[in-house]
C-alpha cells in the first residue's frame, strides 16, 4: 500500500487529487454536483460570485441525493429521475415561448434551504404517485408531499426542519388541520419502514391500474382507510394476529409478515406459499412480504423459490430500515413487492400434469429448492412439489436436511396429487432401497445384534445389519428405571436384543433388551423388605430424585421430598451429592407393578 502511494505521489499532489476527484465523479455522477457546490460555496458566500453555478449545483445535489437514496431505491418501478436547474437568462430564451412552462424564481440568499425544498416540492407531483393524483383530494396529496418533504428537511439539518415548518407545514396546517393528522400517520408508517416501500408503492401500482382503466373516481377516503389498515399492522401488539388482507375497492392488497424464524425453519416455505396462493385466489393484486432481521435468510429462500412461480411477478426487493421499539433503535427491514400475473390461468396445473404425464405413483426426477426441518420444496418439470420429513428416507431422520441438499437432483415417486389445492406430494422412499426387502428378516424370539442410534420418550431406535430400523420400547431396555442420563449413555452401543414383535403391515420390528435376562422383580420383591438398611452407591442425580445402586445390584430411588426432609447437605442435593459416593439408605417400598424400589435416607428413619 505504501509503495502504491509513493508511486501515485510521483505524479505530484495536484494531479493525484484530480485523479481521485475524477474517480469519485465516475463512481457517482451526482458527486460532480456536490464537488461543484463545495468549490463555489466560499466564493458565493463571500463575494456572491458563481451564484448560478452554486445555487443550481446545490439544489440538484441535495434533491437528487435525497430522491435517489430515500425514494427511488424504495419504489417498485424502475423509472429514475434527475432534477436539474435550467437557468433562463435571456429574453429570447425559447423556453419563454413554451406554453404551460412553470418558471421558478431562485433567490440569491446565503441560505438555500428554501430553494431546495421548493424545487423538490415542485418536482414531487411528477416523480411520486404521479398517476394517482387525479384520484385523490388535495389534503391527501399535500400530506404525502409534505411527509416526503419533511424527510428531506431532516436531511438538511436543524435549519432545514425550521424552514420546513415555517414555510411549508405551518401555512398548510393552519388552513387544513386534517393534513396535520394525516402527516402524523404517514410519519408513523415511515418510522416503521412502511411509507415508501408499502404505502407509496401501492399507490403507484394502483395509479397505473386506474389510469389504464381511465377511472377518474375520487378514492381519497379509501386511501385514508388503507393508511389506517397499515397502522393496525405496525401497531399490532407483540405475538398478536392481525388481518393481513385488505380488500376494499380499489385496493386488493395482502401483506405477509415473516417474523417467526423458528416457525419458518421447522415448517419451511409451504405455509407461506399456501398463504400466497390463498391471497391470489381471493383476488390480491399486490402482495408485500415483510421480513424482520430474524427472518432474513428465510426471506431470501422464499424469494428464490418464487422466482419460478408463474402466478406472480417479483417487482422489487427492498432493503430499508424501521425503528424497533423493542431494541430502541433503527433496525433493518426487507420488503418484497409482488404483483399478480394476470395472464396466468389457474387450469394450467392440470394441463401440465397431463402434458408431463404425471400421475400418482409416477417416478420423477426433481431438484430440491428449499429444505426445512419438517418439509422440503422440490421442482419437478417446472411444477412445485412437497416432501415431508418422514418421506425423505426409510430411516428416521430429525431434519429433511439429513437427506436432501438444496440444488441437488434426486429421484422421487409421486405419492399424492391434490388437484383442489394444486399440490403434489412426493416420497423418496423408493422400493428398491427398502431395507425390509433387502435383508433377511429376523424371526420372532430370536436374538439379534443391533446398534443403538437414538432415543426419545417412547423408544430407542437401532439399526440391524446397518440398515433396517429396529425399535426397542423404553420400558424394554431395562428391568430397572432408566434415568435420561443413562438412556443417553447407551447411544452408540451395540447390544443383543430379543425380537418380540414383527409388524408386517407397517414394516416394523420391535425388540427387548431386558428380556435377554430373567425378570429379577419376583426375587427383588422377596429379598427386599421394607426397613432393610444398605450402604448403596449414587448412580445418578436428577432434580427430582437420586438413583442408588444397592450391594445386590438392584437399583432404587430416593425422592426429592425425602432428601429435603433430611436437611443439611441434602437440601441442595443436586449441588452437594456426587455420582459414586456412598450413601446410607433404607428400603421404603417395593413397587412390583411399576418395577421401582423406593428408598429413604437412613437419617430420616
Amino acid at each position: 500500500m505504501d509503495e502504491l502511494i509513493k508511486e501515485i505521489l510521483k505524479f505530484g499532489i495536484l494531479p493525484t487529487f484530480l485523479l481521485v476527484l475524477l474517480f469519485l465523479v465516475i463512481q457517482d455522477p451526482d458527486r460532480a454536483l456536490k464537488i461543484r457546490a463545495l468549490i463555489t460555496e466560499p466564493f458565493f458566500k463571500l463575494f456572491k460570485w458563481f451564484s448560478k453555478e452554486y445555487i443550481a449545483s446545490n439544489i440538484s445535489a441535495h434533491a437528487n441525493e435525497f430522491l435517489n437514496s430515500n425514494v427511488f431505491t424504495l419504489l417498485a418501478h424502475s423509472e429514475r429521475y434527475k432534477i436539474k436547474v435550467k437557468w433562463v437568462k435571456e429574453q429570447d430564451d425559447p423556453i419563454l415561448t413554451e406554453k404551460g412552462t412553470l418558471i421558478l424564481r431562485m433567490k440569491e440568499d446565503d441560505d438555500q434551504t428554501r430553494n431546495i425544498l421548493s424545487s423538490v416540492h415542485i418536482a414531487l407531483p411528477r416523480v411520486v404517485c404521479s398517476l394517482i393524483r387525479s384520484n385523490i383530494n388535495s389534503s391527501c396529496e399535500k400530506s404525502i408531499d409534505l411527509t416526503i418533504l419533511k424527510k428531506l428537511s431532516e436531511k438538511l439539518g436543524k435549519h432545514g426542519r425550521l424552514t420546513y415548518k415555517k414555510y411549508f407545514l405551518d401555512p398548510e396546517t393552519e388552513i387544513d388541520n386534517a393534513i396535520n393528522d394525516l402527516i402524523k400517520k404517514l410519519l408513523a408508517l415511515d418510522k416503521h419502514g412502511f411509507l415508501i416501500p408499502v404505502f407509496i408503492n401501492e399507490l403507484e401500482l394502483l395509479g397505473e391500474g386506474l389510469y389504464a382503466d381511465n377511472d377518474k373516481s375520487d378514492y381519497s377516503e379509501q386511501v385514508i382507510q388503507f393508511i389506517e389498515y397499515l397502522l393496525t399492522i405496525i401497531n399490532r401488539p407483540l405475538h398478536s394476529e392481525v388481518e393481513l388482507e385488505y380488500f376494499s375497492n380499489p385496493f386488493k392488497v395482502s401483506t405477509i409478515l415473516l417474523a417467526k424464524a423458528q416457525r419458518a425453519d421447522t415448517q419451511g416455505l409451504k405455509p407461506y406459499l399456501r398463504r400466497l396462493k390463498i391471497n391470489l385466489d381471493k383476488g390480491s393484486e399486490s402482495i408485500y412480504f415483510i421480513a424482520y432481521p430474524l427472518a432474513f435468510d428465510f426471506f431470501d429462500r422464499l424469494l428464490n423459490s418464487l422466482e419460478s412461480y408463474e402466478r406472480i411477478f417479483i417487482k422489487k426487493e427492498i432493503k430499508t430500515q424501521y425503528y424497533s421499539e423493542l431494541i430502541g433503535h433503527q433496525s433493518n427491514l426487507k420488503i418484497a413487492v409482488l404483483t399478480r400475473n394476470d395472464v396466468f390461468v389457474d387450469g394450467e396445473f392440470e394441463h401440465k400434469l397431463d402434458s408431463c404425464n404425471l400421475k400418482e405413483g409416477s417416478r420423477v426426477k426433481g431438484t430440491v429448492e428449499d429444505v426445512s426441518q419438517k418439509e422440503s420444496l422440490v421442482t419437478i418439470m417446472g411444477l412445485r412439489a412437497y416432501i415431508s420429513k418422514n418421506d425423505c428416507s426409510w430411516h428416521s431422520i430429525s431434519n429433511c436436511e439429513d437427506v436432501l441438499k438444496i440444488g441437488q437432483e434426486y429421484e422421487f415417486i409421486i405419492k399424492k396429487i391434490d388437484k383442489t389445492s394444486n399440490y403434489i406430494y412426493l416420497t423418496h422412499r423408493l422400493p428398491e432401497t427398502n431395507p425390509w426387502d433387502l435383508i433377511d428378516l429376523p424371526k420372532i424370539n430370536s436374538t439379534i445384534e443391533v446398534e443403538l442410534i437414538s432415543y426419545d420418550t417412547i423408544k430407542f431406535t437401532s439399526y440391524y445389519q446397518n440398515n433396517l430400523e429396529i425399535y426397542i420400547p423404553i420400558e424394554e431396555m431395562s428391568w430397572f428405571f432408566l434415568t435420561p442420563n443413562q438412556c443417553r449413555g447407551l447411544i452408540g452401543n451395540t447390544i443383543n436384543a430379543k425380537v418380540i414383535d414383527i409388524d408386517d403391515e407397517n414394516e416394523k420390528i420391535y425388540c427387548s433388551y431386558r428380556q435377554i435376562e430373567e425378570n429379577p422383580w419376583p426375587q427383588i420383591h422377596k429379598s427386599l423388605q421394607k426397613g432393610m438398611e444398605f450402604t448403596g452407591k449414587v448412580t445418578d442425580i436428577t432434580s427430582n430424585y437420586i438413583q442408588v445402586r444397592l450391594p445386590n445390584n438392584f437399583s432404587g430411588i430416593i425422592p426429592r421430598e425425602s432428601l429435603q426432609k433430611a436437611g443439611f447437605e441434602y437440601v441442595n442435593f443436586e449441588d452437594n451429592v456426587v455420582i459414586g459416593q456412598g450413601i446410607e439408605v433404607v428400603v421404603s417400598k417395593v413397587f412390583i407393578a411399576k418395577q421401582k424400589v423406593r428408598l429413604d435416607l437412613k437419617r430420616n428413619k
Binding site: E90, L102, I122, R126
Partner: protein, 73 residues
C-alpha cells in the same frame, strides 16, 4: 432508466430583465399583479414562480398552497 426533470429557473439578477419582456416588472412595482391562486398582491419579495400561458403570465406567491398549485395549474 433515468429521466431528466429540468426545473426552469430565473436568478434574481435576471428577473427584472426577463419580466420586462412581458411588461410585468412595472406592474409588480405598481402592485398590479396578484397571485393566481390566493389573490395576494405579488411583490419582489413574495414572487415564487410564474407560468407561461396562452393569454400571458400567471404569477404565484410563495405560500405553500400556491407553490403546490403552481405545478398543476
Amino acid at each position: 432508466m433515468i429521466k431528466s426533470i429540468k426545473i426552469p429557473a430565473i436568478h434574481d439578477k435576471d428577473l427584472k430583465h426577463i419580466l420586462d419582456k412581458f411588461d410585468a416588472s412595472t406592474k409588480i412595482d405598481n402592485k398590479e399583479i396578484k397571485c393566481s391562486n390566493c389573490n395576494e398582491i405579488i411583490t419582489w419579495d413574495n414572487l415564487f414562480a410564474f407560468k407561461i400561458t396562452q393569454t400571458g403570465l400567471l404569477f404565484f406567491c410563495n405560500e405553500p398552497d400556491c407553490i403546490e398549485k403552481s405545478s398543476k395549474q
